[in-house]
Symmetry: C2
DNA sequence: TTTTATTGATTGATCAGTCAATCAAAAATA
DNA sequence: TATTTTTGATTGACTGATCAATCAATAAAA
């Protein structure tokens, strides 16, 4: 029973948090969603915090698994970059409840060291997946900048989605990130082996 | 006394929320920080929610005021774009407690209609400030895309800062956003009056 | 005197976490 | 096989703590 209940409770927590849009949900809410008593949730997880930790862990596991699959299917570095982007905006990730859950965990990371650790892992993975493939196309220096920028844009599009103010769709979000990549790939030095010196200003003054 | 107390309480709330990294702070915490009794906070604001609303309103007012000043000092559209970026990463905004507070409100917006309204106003203002100046340099169509992208990148850099995982500094954040702008300004059609037709793919396939 | 500012004390609700008690299945024993 | 024992699953009822909100009372100012 244990593994069944644990999974049911973690799934329920994710759902309840997503619906409610906050981690301020009660064990009762979660237990009810899972169809068990609150006491049982405590029995298996010991504390609410522990259940929440398992919940974010599961969110992360899902994302990694999706990423691995997408990466495996892509052959070239450029294609792998697109794969990373696509996974980030994949339908599951972009569901309102999932976005709400991620956001809630971001806020929680301010207070829970353990939650922060998980989110740092996420941020690093995203950056690293981008960086590894950018390095095949650009100098390390340029690759690092662009990886940082692309990761920020992905996170930003994601968080802006949570407000549903300007409902940019999945496709538009992907296109925007791809445009960023394309533009900077074209502007920055095109080869991994490039001349050193000034950190190559991007074509300034083009448009006054 | 009323205006004095209201301001003290709003400032205290901002501080406590920032320190605590969450809206789950008590009226007592806030009142203590402001040096008054919890009962007085209720007396002037009626409810905790109302105090929180006033708090985010104050955050927004500050940001707008900074923006107005920065915008006034800039002469060209391109300079105004830089001004908008600079204000977003201005030292006040980038202080850990301020970031924590913004994040907390983002999470709250999932649940409070009124909080969401304020954040939507913020998102719109940012987009609009960027858009107005981009339109002077590009077709409306391109300007809209780039405004969306730049706004997302700003928000993304901001939120990533909250994790303190890859502590990108203020200057680096500004540079990254400027690079995005420069690259896309160079790539997209350079004039406001441009031929119509296909939505101008950005130089695709440049770098295989 | 009337109004405003301020607080201590209290209330009512909500929750995380505990615990003793039940129930059922499996294991051991006869 | 029939039985007792043990173990794990599960819950209802309870506790202690926390907190938003209220209110009656006091102090001070107008």
């Amino acid at each position: 029973m244990e593994p069944v209940r644990r999974k049911a409770l973690v799934d329920a927590a994710l759902r309840v948090i997503g619906d409610h849009g906050s981690l301020a949900v009660t064990m009762s809410d979660i237990a009810r969603q899972a169809g068990v008593s609150p006491a049982l949730a405590h029995h298996y997880f010991g504390s609410k915090e522990q259940l929440l930790i398992e919940t974010i862990r599961s969110l992360l596991r899902q994302l990694r698994s999706d990423t691995v699959v997408a990466l495996k299917a892509a052959r070239t570095p450029r294609a792998r970059l697109s794969a990373v982007i696509r996974v980030s905006f994949h339908a599951d990730q972009f569901a309102p409840e999932t976005i709400a859950a991620w956001l809630a965990f971001y806020a929680e990371a301010q207070r829970s060291e353990e939650t922060r650790r998980f989110l740092v892992i996420y941020a690093r993975r995203l950056r690293s997946n981008l960086l590894a493939n950018l390095k095949a196309l650009l100098s390390t220096e340029a690759a690092e900048r662009i990886a940082e920028g692309a990761a920020a844009m992905i996170d930003g599009l994601y968080i802006r989605q949570s407000l549903k103010s300007a409902p940019i769709g999945i496709e538009a979000s992907i296109a925007l990130t791809e445009d960023y990549l394309n533009a900077l790939l074209a502007t920055a030095s095109p080869s991994p082996r490039r001349e050193k010196g000034r950190p190559h200003r991007t074509t300034q003054g083009q448009m006054t």
